[in-house]
Symmetry: C2
Subunit: 579 residues, 2 copies
C-alpha cells in the first residue's frame, strides 16, 4: 500500500512542478494540486508511521532530513504505554492551512476528489450537517416554512431575468451543453442559487393576496465554479446548503422573518456549534446583489484572525417580484395597478463545518462540539489482563448500551489490535467530546474515568445515574467551548477611530469596530489601504464583515475612519480580513 | 390572470404545432410540449371554472364544443350546497395520462418547469418524500449504514472505468463543458448514479479486512438525460433518490444485506404507501449493468395494466472492486494475491410518489395513504350561522390542536371566502385521508362527522378520546387501501404456459407469471411477439418484471413459454408491460 502512495506522491509532485512551470496556469489549480500532495503525504504517514521523505531529498540533503525525522512531541504518552505515531504533524499556529488539511483528512471528515474544488463529505462530517439540518428544519417548520424541491437546471432566459443578481453569479455558472453524444439546443445552467429557478413558479402561484405568504425551503446542492483557491467546506465548487424563499403581502411581515431566520442561524452557531457570532447587516458593497438588504452572522477564526460569514438572510424587497411579476390585484392600489410581493431569501451551507473545525480544532486534531458530534462518548477498556478481559469488555458493553438508552451518542472501541494509547490519540484526533476509560480498578470502585477532549480534564463519574451526569457534562462542555471561543474572539475584537491603528490591529489578527460612512467606494479605499505587500505575497485587505445590529456603547464619532473620506460616519462597522 | 393563461395556451399550442411540423423533431419534446399545454388548460379551468375552448374551435365547430362544455358530474354535491366546478375533469379510466397530469398539478404536487424533463416538487409531494426518507433512514441506520455526500461531478476517466456499467449510462449522461465564459479543459459529467464517483475513494479506504465493511448511503439528486417521453415522478431527467453503496469482506454478508435492504424497500410500499409489491430478481437482460444480480420490488398499476419497478437492490459481486481495485492483503490468499471486496448498491427514488398517485388516485383526484400524508385530517366547520360561528370556530380550533397534540397531522380550513362544499372538493382533490365536518349539531352531540377519502364512508366519532380513535382509523384506512390495491393486483396477476393466452392477458391489463428459460435473447423474442401494432401506434411488448422470490405453488413446466425456445424453464418469471 505505501508503495502505491509513494508512486502517487511522485506523480503529484511532478504535476505540481508542471503546473508551476507552465505559463499562465491558474493559481487555484496549483493550490489545489499542492493540497492534494499534502493529503497524499498525510496518507503516507498514516500508513507507515513516518514522514514522507522524497528520494531526491534523502540523497541530496541528508542532514536536514535527519532533523525532520525526529518525532514531534504532538501525542502525549497517556497511560504510560508506547504509542504509535498518530495525530496531527503540523501545529495550528505554525501553519493553519496545512494543519487544516491534515485535520479534516485524518479525522476522516473529507476525502479529496479528482474534480477540482469538489470534496467527499465522509460520515464524520456529514453527521454534523445532519444535526444542523434537524435543528434548523424543526425551527423553520415552526415558522410555517415547508420543504420542497426545485430543479437544479435553469434556462438561460430565466437566469438572466434579474440583471444585478446575475451579474454577480454569471462568472461562476457551470453550463451543461451536451447530453450523451448530442449537443443541447441551448446550454442549460446549474443553479448557483435558486431565485431565478423558483420565482417563475411564484408568479404562477400568486394571483391574490390570499396566495401569500409563500414560505418554502429546500435542502440541496448548488454549484459556483469559483476560480479562487478552493478549500474543503470553506470554498468549494459544489456545496450543500438550505435556501429559504418566502414572499409576503407586506414588507413588515417580510422584514420580521428576516430577523427570525437570522436568530435561528445565530442559534446554530451558539447553541449547536458553540461558536459566538455577531449579528449584523452587510454593507452596500457586500450585500446580496439584487436585494434590499442582507443580514448576516459573522464568526471569528483566531488562528488567522479572519472573520467568516456564517449564514445570510436577505430581504429582497420588491426587486425580484417586479422582475418576475409576482403580483396580484389589490383593491388598495390604483385602478389597473398591481401589488408586488415582498420577498426574502436565506441560506446556510456546509461552510458551517469548516468554521467549526477552524475555531475549535487544536494541535491534537478536531474538537467536536457535543451537540453535533456523531459520537459524544467513546468508551475504551484499559489496564486489563487476559483473565480480567472478558468481564471488563462485558462491563464496557453494558455501560455503552446504558448510555445509548439514556440518550447519549456513545460507542465503544473494543478493537484488540490497537493499544489503549493509540485509541486515545485516534479518538482525540477525531474530536470526540468525552472519552471514558474503564479498567478493573474503575469497576471495583463503581466508576469510570472521563477525559474531556477540549480541556484534557479528567474526572471520575459514578456508574449510578451515569447517563444523566454525562448529559450534564456534555452541556458543560458546550458552554466551556463557547466561552473559550468567546474569550478568544473578544480579546481580538477592538474598536478604533484611527486608520493607522486599524492597520496595526489587522496585522495583530484583530477584527475591528470602526466608524464608517457606508459608501462602497470608501470601503474599496479602506481595503486598498489595509492591503499589505510582504515577502509572501499580498496580505488581503480588510472589508466590512457587517454593521452590527447591537452597536458599541461608545459614542459614534462624526467622521468615517478613512482619513480622506469627508462623509459622516453612519455606524460602527465590523471590519476584518475575511474568508 | 385568465387572459395571461389564454396567451400562454395559444403560444404553447403554436409551439406544439411547430414541433410536430418540423422534420425529425424528438418525440420526447413533442410529448413534453403537449403535457405543458394540458397543464396550462388545467390552470385555465382552475382560474375560470370552465374548460378552455380555443377561439378557432368556437367558430369552426360550435356543436362539438357545446357538447364538451356540459359539466361533468365529477364533483358530488355534498351538503346540498352549490359547488364551484373544481376537481379532475378527466376520468382515470378514460385517459389515465391526462388524468395523471391533472391530478398532480391540481393537487399541487407538481409545477411544470421550463427545462424539459424537470419538474418542481411542491410541498404536497415533497412531504411524502420526507416521510419515506425518515422511515428508510432510520431503517438503514439500524443496519449500521451511515450517510455521507459525494460530489455530483465525475471525471470522464472515472466514469469510464467500468465498461459494462458505463455502456448502459453513457447515452444519458449530461456534460458540463463550460464555467462562466471559459471552456473547461475537459468535460465533466453529472452523476447518473455514483458507483464510479464513490469507488475510487473506497479503494483508498480499504487496506485491510479490518476496513470492511463500508456501509454508506447518500440522499441526493442524479441526472439521466433520457430522450423518451418524460413524466413527472415516473421518468424525469433530474430526480431525487437515495443510493446505498456497501462493501464487505465476504459474499455471504453482502448477499444478506441485499435482501435486508429489499425488505426495507418492500416496507416502504407495504407499510407506508399501502401498495403491494412482488419481491424478485431481475432477469439477465434487466439486471443492473456491471453487477452480479439485481433484486427488485415490483408494483402493479391497474389503470393501464403496467408493472412498475419500485426500487432495486444490487449485488455487484467483485466486478467493481476489481475494476476499481478495492482490495486488501489476505493471509488466506496465495502470496502476492489480493482479496477483492464484495459490493452492493441499492436505490429508491421519487418515482415512488408517481406509483402512489397512479395506484391510489381516483376520479376525484389524489388519495394519500395516511402514513405519508402531510395532512391526515382536515377539519372543516359546517352548517353555522353568524351567531354560532365564533363558538364553532373555537371548537374547530380546539379539536385540531388536540389532534396535533395527540400525534395526528391535523389542520383546519377556516377560510371564509370558500363554501364548505368547495372545501370538501378541494381537500378530496388533494387526497387528505380524513375530513372532519363539525357543525353546531355535532358539537351538541359531542361528536364530529368523519368522512374517509378513499371510500367515502361517513362515521360519527366521539370527541372523547378523539386522537386515539383517529389514529386507529388511520391504521384501518391504511389497511383498507392496501387490501383494495392487493385485490386489484391479484385480479390481474395470472399464470399461463401458453403464448397466445399470454398476449391476450397482456391486452387485458394483466401481469403474467410464465415459465421462462432466463435467456436475454428469448426475452427479446417474447417482447417482440407481444408487441402489438394498433391504430394508435405500437403497444409496448412485455418484459420480465422479475423472477419472484416466492414462486407459485404450481409445478414448473419443463419448457419455456416462448414456443420457439428449446431451453428448459428455469423459473416462473413475472412478465408485463412496464414503466
Amino acid at each position: 500500500m505505501s508503495e502505491e502512495i509513494v508512486k502517487q506522491i511522485v506523480e503529484q509532485g511532478n504535476e505540481v512542478r508542471r503546473l508551476k512551470g507552465e505559463k499562465g496556469t491558474d493559481e487555484a489549480l496549483i493550490q489545489e494540486a499542492i493540497a492534494k500532495l499534502t493529503a497524499l503525504k498525510v496518507a503516507y504517514k498514516e500508513a507507515t508511521g513516518e514522514e514522507y521523505v522524497s528520494p531526491n531529498a534523502r540523497q541530496a540533503k541528508p542532514k536536514k532530513e535527519e532533523k525532520k525525522k525526529e518525532p514531534k512531541p504532538q501525542a502525549k504518552k497517556e497511560d504510560g504505554k508506547k504509542v504509535t505515531l498518530l495525530g496531527v504533524g503540523t501545529k495550528k499556529d505554525d501553519n493553519y492551512s496545512e494543519w487544516y488539511t491534515e485535520v479534516i483528512t485524518k479525522a476522516e471528515m473529507i476525502e479529496y476528489y479528482d474534480v477540482s474544488g469538489c470534496y467527499v463529505l465522509r460520515p464524520w462530517s456529514y453527521a454534523v450537517w445532519e444535526s444542523i439540518q434537524a435543528w434548523f428544519d424543526s425551527g423553520i417548520k415552526k415558522l410555517g416554512v415547508k420543504n420542497c424541491y426545485f430543479p437544479m437546471f435553469v434556462s438561460n432566459s430565466a437566469l438572466e431575468r434579474e440583471k444585478t443578481h446575475i451579474a454577480d453569479f454569471a462568472p461562476e455558472v457551470a453550463w451543461v451543453t451536451r447530453a450523451g453524444s448530442s449537443d443541447l439546443p441551448e446550454p442549460i445552467a446549474i443553479r448557483p442559487t435558486s431565485e431565478t429557478v423558483m420565482y417563475p413558479s411564484y408568479k404562477k402561484w400568486v394571483q391574490s393576496h390570499r396566495d401569500l405568504p409563500i414560505k418554502l425551503n429546500q435542502w440541496c446542492n448548488v454549484v459556483r465554479w469559483e476560480f479562487k483557491h478552493p478549500t474543503p467546506f470553506l470554498r468549494t465548487r459544489e456545496f450543500l446548503w438550505q435556501e429559504g424563499h418566502t414572499a409576503f403581502a407586506n414588507p413588515a411581515d417580510a422584514e420580521e422573518e428576516v430577523f427570525q431566520i437570522l436568530d435561528l442561524y445565530a442559534g446554530i452557531y451558539n447553541k449547536l456549534l458553540a461558536i459566538p457570532v455577531v449579528k449584523g447587516r452587510k454593507s452596500e458593497k457586500e450585500k446580496f446583489a439584487g436585494g434590499d438588504f442582507t443580514t448576516t452572522v459573522e464568526a471569528y477564526v483566531a488562528c488567522n484572525g479572519r472573520g467568516i460569514q456564517g449564514a445570510t438572510s436577505h430581504h429582497l424587497g420588491q426587486n425580484f417580484s417586479k422582475m418576475f411579476d409576482i403580483s396580484y390585484e389589490d383593491p388598495a392600489c390604483k385602478e389597473g395597478q398591481r401589488a408586488f410581493a415582498w420577498q426574502n431569501s436565506w441560506g446556510l451551507s456546509t461552510r458551517t463545518i469548516g468554521a467549526m473545525v477552524m475555531i475549535h480544532g487544536d494541535d491534537k486534531g478536531l474538537v467536536l462540539p457535543p451537540r453535533v458530534a456523531a459520537v459524544q462518548v467513546i468508551v475504551v477498556p484499559v489496564g486489563f489482563k487476559t483473565d480480567t478481559k472478558e468481564k471488563l469488555f462485558d462491563a464496557v458493553d453494558k455501560v455503552t448500551k446504558d448510555l445509548v438508552a439514556g440518550g447519549v451518542k456513545a460507542e465503544h472501541d473494543l478493537r484488540e489490535n490497537y493499544q489503549a494509547g493509540w485509541k486515545f490519540n485516534h479518538w482525540e484526533l477525531k474530536g470526540v467530546p468525552i472519552r471514558f476509560e474503564i479498567g478493573p480498578n474503575d469497576l471495583a470502585k463503581n466508576q469510570v474515568t472521563a477525559v474531556v477532549r477540549h480541556s484534557g480534564d479528567k474526572k471520575q463519574l459514578s456508574l449510578d445515574g451515569l447517563s444523566q451526569s454525562v448529559l450534564t457534562l456534555l452541556d458543560e462542555i458546550h458552554d466551556e467551548m463557547y466561552n473559550k471561543a468567546l474569550a478568544q474572539r473578544d480579546a481580538h475584537l477592538k474598536l478604533t477611530t484611527d486608520m493607522e491603528e486599524f492597520k496595526k490591529l489587522l496585522d495583530d489578527k484583530c477584527i475591528i469596530l470602526a466608524p464608517f460612512c457606508g459608501h462602497p467606494n470608501c470601503e474599496d479605499e479602506i481595503k486598498k489601504a489595509s492591503t499589505r505587500e510582504d515577502g509572501e505575497g499580498a496580505q488581503m485587505g480588510a472589508k466590512t464583515l457587517c454593521i452590527p445590529l447591537e452597536q458599541p456603547k461608545e459614542a459614534l464619532p462624526s467622521k468615517c475612519i478613512f482619513p480622506v473620506c469627508t462623509e459622516k460616519a453612519k455606524a460602527f462597522a465590523l471590519f476584518g480580513r475575511s474568508y
